[in-house]
Symmetry: C2
């Protein structure tokens, strides 16, 4: 419906063109969108339950945004806070009627898709706070606390970070001093720098916190432990005596969440406020390291040293959440950007769809592929983690080093990639992404914390690289022994074969650019080549200069962690593509009808990651011609996925009221919806309140009217 204006000769694009273009895009689908949707959600039953969850939210004026006027982006911070807490309360009410655990899960997922602030409020209490009891609490403590937290009888937060110590737990200064005479602990913030800060829900709503503090017993430092400390009166919301806490105020995003700061001044909590699974203080003031006798189970006993290690395991699920949280947000951003690009026509040569430009394809198509790789990996990591948790402390301990390194690598790699993808989505929408009404701007604001919060990426990649380095050394020293010791789903399982390949001296050539296996081998080889280079540069460090050499190697450390993570993700998406058989700790293979689509996505994913590291491929001996071929294959793979881009984002299944981006309306009528949204904004048509005070004195000092 582009038409040439009779008078001007200008080829004008009609606002109706979007509907036509969207229909044409959907006609290109080479897979069944509903089948893909159901697969991504875990089956047709779950898809039906998700549809029900959406219906429950859409029709509830408290849960949804659109029934109350549909302008969530114009809410002030206090309004957003109230709305988000109202959603939480309503969610608690709605869930009481649920008889179905899956519906409950999917209902929460849908709410988290709708609001990042809601998602974080929920996560802080039901994941972080509950998990601190499950990991660090005795059975009795779990039995006492977990049910009332899940009923939101107590609203809890997770006070770890201090003003002076973000990622360095060793520096934690808050103290918990045992007073044997009174059989209680005194919690205290000794300095300004020890102020707990950025604590979600501590700003306005939490009644309790789990607080990480240094335990002092009889003048001895007994290490870091968790304590439950009341913050506010559950009835009035007034701060408890000795608790100085407040809101952190204006933030880049998530303004519906009340991040806060806390200072404790001589706050007494009872002896059972210490989460005492892995260590406890007897009433007489004797400190006992190791599994609490109350939880004694000879089969699962662990040493005090191991218990200390387990205390850090609590951070792993937060990192693994990334595999669900990032696609939850970025699939929406990609839906918006892809739909915009499909509905936007621009350019000198016949106004093509923006989606037809190779530059836009190169920006958005690999992003779709990366998100599918992350979703595939989510199944594998969570299955593995749940098996570790359920296996008891010794099973957990055995799996911890690999899971710790992998979760750190995933958190860093996926959140860095996500920041990059969001910026591409923004740029793909031109100026219209600057309007908050198209949602991307708020995703970017909300997202700001992802690369630095929950463990700074720059620190996490060091944890991953250190582990991979140690494992590579073992694999080089005795490949057979190493291979026998690792499970096929361990993140380091590829090391023996990749080490052998690296030893050949010739970089692996790609003879078939459609072979996922060949591309995957190159990725694994490069990971090992980078690890070996890192090892060599560290080995050359002078005596006493190891810390300096390690810090200087930051770029290689980062590359090792990312390559290692990507080769793990690649396995997961290859399984979805039917290219590798899954084990019990992997994601499931996809239905046969979907496998060709996953093949395209997996291929693009691998090509894109290799291209990201093209400089390293060349430095480690890959031929220039191979990199040029890589570029050509990448462009080809982008064009292939481009044809399926609209069906792929349709299969994410986000309704318009979740996306909240009028320009990306599913029916293609975006421009009308966008302008209508703008026109319905508060006081769109003015004059503004400040006209008489600030404008008129300039433009009409003597009272001239032009009307």
């Amino acid at each position: 419906m582009s038409n040439t204006n009779d008078k001007t000769g200008v080829v004008a694009i009609s606002a109706d063109q979007g509907r036509i273009d969207y229909a044409a895009e959907r006609a290109r689908a080479q897979f069944d969108v509903e089948e893909m949707r159901a697969f991504l959600l875990g089956g047709p039953d779950r898809a039906a339950k998700m549809a029900l969850a959406y219906r429950i939210i859409e029709r509830d004026p408290i849960l949804s945004f659109q029934l109350e006027g549909g302008h969530p982006f114009d809410l002030t911070r206090p309004e957003l806070r109230a709305k988000t807490m109202a959603q939480l309360r309503r969610v608690v009410e709605v869930r009481r009627a649920f008889k179905d655990k899956e519906l409950d899960d999917l209902f929460l997922t849908a709410m988290c898709e709708l609001s990042e602030s809601f998602s974080m409020r929920l996560f802080v209490t039901e994941a972080l706070f509950v998990r601190s009891f499950r990991l660090f609490g005795t059975r009795a403590q779990q039995a006492e606390w977990v049910p009332k937290i899940l009923a939101w009888d107590s609203i809890g937060c997770f006070a770890m970070t201090e003003l002076g110590h973000s990622s360095n737990l060793r520096g934690i200064e808050t103290t918990a001093t045992y007073d044997a005479a009174n059989r209680d602990f005194i919690i205290d913030t000794p300095s300004l720098m020890a102020t707990k800060i950025w604590i979600g829900m501590a700003g306005e709503t939490a009644t309790h916190t789990a607080c990480l503090a240094r335990l002092l017993v009889r003048g001895q430092d007994c290490g870091l432990h968790w304590f439950v400390v009341p913050l506010r009166d559950p009835e009035t919301g007034r701060l408890m005596p000795g608790v100085t806490a407040g809101d952190v105020g204006a933030k880049a995003g998530r303004n519906g969440l009340d991040n806060g700061w806390i200072q404790f001044t001589h706050v007494r909590v009872p002896r059972d406020a210490m989460l005492a699974r892995w260590a406890h203080v007897a009433a007489d003031g004797t400190f006992h390291a190791g599994l609490n006798p109350e939880d004694a189970d000879p089969a699962n006993n662990v040493s005090p040293a191991a218990a200390a290690g387990l205390a850090y395991a609590g951070l792993i699920p937060e990192r693994l959440e990334i595999t669900r949280g990032i696609p939850m947000m970025l699939n929406q951003a990609l839906t918006i950007a892809v739909r915009y690009a499909a509905g936007r026509r621009q350019g000198p040569a016949g106004n093509p769809q923006v989606l037809d430009y190779p530059s836009i394809q190169a920006a958005l198509m690999p992003a779709l592929a990366r998100m599918h790789a992350v979703m595939a990996a989510a199944g594998a990591v969570w299955t593995t983690w749940h098996a570790m948790e359920e296996g008891g402390p010794n099973v957990l301990l055995q799996g911890l080093p690999d899971m710790h390194a992998l979760s750190a690598g995933i958190k860093a790699t996926v959140t860095w990639d996500g920041a990059d993808i969001l910026e591409r989505c923004r740029r793909a929408m031109g100026g219209h992404a600057y309007s908050r009404y198209n949602a991307i701007a708020d995703y970017i604001g909300d997202y700001g914390v992802m690369t630095t919060g929950g463990g700074d990426n720059a620190v996490l990649v060091q944890q991953t690289a250190r582990y991979v380095l140690a494992m590579a050394r073992k694999a080089m020293a005795d490949p057979a022994k190493f291979a026998a010791a690792v499970a096929p789903t361990d993140s380091v399982a590829y090391l023996p074969s990749a080490v052998a390949l690296a030893a050949e001296g010739t970089p692996p050539a790609v003879s078939d650019w459609t072979s996922l296996a060949q591309l995957h081998v190159v990725l694994q080889w490069l990971a090992v080549a980078k690890v070996q280079a890192l090892g060599m540069s560290l080995a050359a460090a002078p005596k006493g200069g190891m810390t300096r050499a390690w810090n200087a190697a930051h770029a290689d450390i980062s590359a090792v962690a990312q390559l290692h993570t990507h080769q793990y993700l690649a396995r997961a998406i290859r399984i979805r593509a039917g290219d590798l058989p899954p084990t019990t700790r992997d994601s499931a293979a996809s239905p046969a009808a979907l496998q060709p689509t996953f093949m395209h996505l997996a291929r693009l994913y691998l090509l894109d990651v290799l291209r990201q590291f093209a400089r390293d491929l060349l430095l480690h001996g890959w031929a220039r011609e191979a990199v040029e071929q890589l570029d050509a294959e990448f462009a080809d793979a982008c064009a292939t996925v481009r044809d399926q881009a609209m069906p792929l984002v349709d299969a994410f299944g986000h309704p318009d009221w979740i996306l909240q981006a009028p320009l990306a309306r599913a029916d293609g009528d975006g421009y009308r919806a966008y302008l209508a949204t703008i026109q319905n904004a508060p006081n769109c048509f003015g004059p503004p309140k400040y006209w008489d005070a600030e404008v008129r004195p300039l433009t009409a000092p003597a009272g001239r009217s032009r009307l």
Copy 2:
């Protein structure tokens, strides 16, 4: 002042440590900070005037933020709008008393440093709106309008972009139809997609707009021209009849600026509303292309075709503003990030300053160098542009192709780099950048528009690359003729020598890594190598496939434009370093005492840019060992600049009340200031207003109090 806690053994960092660390940083200065400051501002006189300008603003409760409570980041959108307009009105009042043009300029610069929203409001009227008269208006129109705009008697905006046509002026649909019977034009918006949108100041305040429309005379399309159209009654702010205009609402940033949208419905404007310098419509309805006889000047006459070209010259200054606007914002962000990194101590090995980590140095130091290169180039491009404007139409026309391509390349390259640098600043501050009180978050929000607005970067790099490609062909065809025809300050002046170098077949080796000349030659060689590769890939396009081949070459096009731009910027910073003699159209050399510092910055700049294109260096035959050496030299250059980082940001001279980032207080007492800012935020200590409605029903349904 780190001290070991007696009880815990924890090495705690005192909040007083910042003062000590800042003093130590400043003691490292190898140049005089005041001398650098004066040089960057254009001399000691100008530095003194800037200090006065700061004093005027700091003490004025309307202009500044801090006197009214110091919480600008907590203002709502309506409050920000009113504040920004109040600042504008106050600025008009203050300037009436000025007798000094330099003070006036510096005063505006200082205000623009303080507020991006203010800056854009000022820019829209005093730059865009005024410039449309200066470029497209007759002398009579200029004489009538420019004084009253500069007095803010009329508030003007610049209505170019339409909803359906962002970067493609050929698609503009708004019409201006000449009605000979009534001797006026009828301005009309024919469709939804022709709605003018994103127009700064059109949302609430503009009384007039310059409107780009397609001129229709006697049924003939006479091309695009500019018309002055009243929008609002200057007395009441009511919309003029036929004008439908409103605010675009919530945006990612710049919420003190009222971006708007406009639809015209049969709006009549008089014949002299057409800006008629380059074409006009006689009263009888005859369209005349070419210089208006009213402006006749035989020496400066231009052809109608040339006049059409000049109509687009209006976009160039907006692009060149980037060379001032980006450092204005990013130098502040870098000041904040560098001071944070100097005052933050963190890490297992003795809590070093974060600034001592090579990863942080690699993020922030090249950013300082890039901003100095941009500032150096600002002098050159503006000198050249002013000479072109003052030389009359023929001089302007002669210089247009080079300036057009260069300005497009600068806009794209510098704004892409700026987005990257802002994200690095954010990440260097860890979680604390997520607080809006540390300013970076708002810079990122404000910045969102830079890469897509004022010409989408993806389009601009094509303009630059197309020009460089054409010029390289000429330089290859007849190097001597080409060299004789270009001025030494033309952006393409390097082509003959670089083409000759490329013809030798061996990539230029670097024998002295401290030689700016050698590094610059590599950059120029790579630019030509990429241009030639681009030309070859286009030459291989099948018949009729040129558009397709061009679009497919997007990555090379982008690289060519960026390399071309960087080699121009490199010349400017080499001149500052005393490494090249300046011509009359270059930036000035710096005082001898500053040249060693500029040498370090210029070296780091060149190394950083080459490193950015390491993949291309390798693909075009650079040795692997050279790239490895490049990495080592880069790390070394970062460490060298790191020692001067604090003096360098001090020399930007931004007072604390401009930076508005308590953690980056100049005196090093950031943590106390940060916490005090948080504690002074509205309703920090709660309980929140929604407690009784939304929290208490969960936590105290039966009315339990824990107090």
